[in-house]
Amino acid sequence: MNINEFIEKFAEAIEIEDASMLNDNTEFRNLPEWGSLAYLSVIAFMDDEYDTQIEEAEFKKLLTVQDLYNACTQK
């Protein structure tokens, strides 16, 4: 999955209707949709789509959509 496909799936996971608002530099914690439910969705999405499990302490270091993508694809 390339970064654009990842962004589509990420947008779907946190229920953003227009994925074109996002890019790899988007700081996802600043999105209005971000919250505890979105966090749950992203963790579940990373596990379901990429078989990636990430500790909370590691997740805190991820700031952008690119960071999330890298965490999923660089194992």
Partner: protein, 372 residues
């Protein structure tokens, strides 16, 4: 400052009482009474003792949240697969805003111990989280028939002669419906024998396994026997009963299973005994229908039972239940997860065999409380 740590308590830890090593001012761990511990350890589907019995969140060494887990089995066409179930989730109120509940749900979701998950009876509050976790969530209408309203009157202060007279008055409509139901029941008892048994016969498990639905939580003989022999709270008024339905010549025709649960506090009322028809099966629905089984079951409960709850699996049963005096009352929710996405139609509720007695509902006492 909080130092929240998630712990996995295995079945081995449960057996060795290691879960008692935490400080427990909120009774998070004390919830696992000796009775509940025995119930969990006796579950026939846990398999490996290293599997998780409980996820526990602590702040320092203080237990602040938990969720229990145990094993079950799904039957998918002819394949039997292990699955995770559980419940009894609870988070201390002041920790709910810190995502403790979400962390507990995630721990369960991300566990690699099982490829499938099935749960029932969860708080409305967690439903948004469960949907975000991409579980399939099913909802089924529940039906309830009132049996004796006197406990309700007693719990609001009626006693003595006033209770007797008021009780007779409020119960009068119930007794009228009973007359009609008992006529129908009598005709069934002319065709069948209904016997209470303490040992679940093998044929009951086979009736379940031969159900036509593609998906089911497998209630085989071992599962039925476990649910018959154990419950969570161990109150004297809590009991489960299993009944066989046979022809007059002794041939197995069907079965049903019931539970009664005593609740010290039930909303505005107290000391209420609730009844549920948790499981049933028939070898031939044209001979003995789901509605017939529910009718036979109603009159096996303790006379003091406040109401009897059931969850019909067919629309035609719903119509029959209404004629018997049942009214629609709330919903039973279940969730199903297929981690590896092996079955594309697992989320189609019409393909599922549904019973109220699923997952942890039989061993449960009261409904689960909030997770966050």
């Amino acid at each position: 400052m909080s130092e929240l740590v998630l712990h996995k308590i295995s079945y081995k830890d449960l057996r060795e009482f290691k879960y008692k090593n935490f400080d427990d001012p909120y009774s998070i761990v004390a919830f696992i009474t000796d009775h509940l511990r025995e119930t969990l350890l006796a579950c026939p589907n846990n398999g490996d003792e290293n599997k998780t019995a409980m996820y526990l969140m602590t702040d320092g060494n203080v237990a602040v949240g938990r969720v229990l887990q145990f094993g079950t089995k799904l039957k998918i066409d002819d394949e039997i697969v292990p699955a995770q179930t559980g419940g009894s989730s609870f988070v201390v109120e002041k920790y709910r805003s810190q995502g403790v509940g979400a962390s507990l749900l995630l721990a369960s979701k991300l566990s690699k111990e099982y490829d499938f998950k099935i749960n029932s009876l969860f708080s409305e509050m967690v439903v948004p989280m469960l949907r975000r976790l991409k579980y399939n969530i099913f909802e089924f209408p529940q039906y309830v028939i009132l049996r004796d309203l006197r406990p309700m009157l007693a719990s609001i202060g009626f006693k003595g002669t006033l209770l007797d007279i008021s009780g007779a008055v409020v119960n009068f409509p119930i007794r009228l419906i009973d007359i009609l139901n008992k006529i129908k029941r009598k005709s069934l008892l002319r065709k069948f024998n209904v016997n209470k048994v303490v040992s679940v016969p093998e044929w009951a498990g086979k009736i379940v396994a031969n159900d036509i639905h593609k998906y089911m939580e497998l209630h085989d003989r071992e599962w039925l026997q476990w649910n018959l022999d154990y419950n969570m709270n161990g109150y004297p008024g809590d009991r489960q009963s299993f009944y066989t339905v046979t022809s007059k010549s002794g041939e197995p025709v069907g079965f049903f299973m019931t539970k009664e649960r005593f609740e010290e506090i039930a909303g505005r009322y107290h000391d209420i005994l609730r009844g549920t028809i948790v499981e049933w099966g028939t070898g031939n629905p044209d001979v003995l229908s789901e509605a017939d089984l529910n009718l036979l079951a109603i009159y096996t409960f303790t006379p003091k039972v406040f109401h009897v709850l059931t969850v019909p699996s067919e629309e035609k049963t719903e119509k029959s239940l209404k004629r018997m005096g049942f009214i629609k009352h709330g919903k039973l929710q279940m969730l199903v997860g297929d981690k590896k996405k092996k079955y594309s139609d697992i989320g189609d509720v019409h393909l599922w065999r549904i019973r109220y007695g699923s997952c942890n509902t039989i061993i449960y006492g009261q409904a689960p409380t909030q997770i966050s």
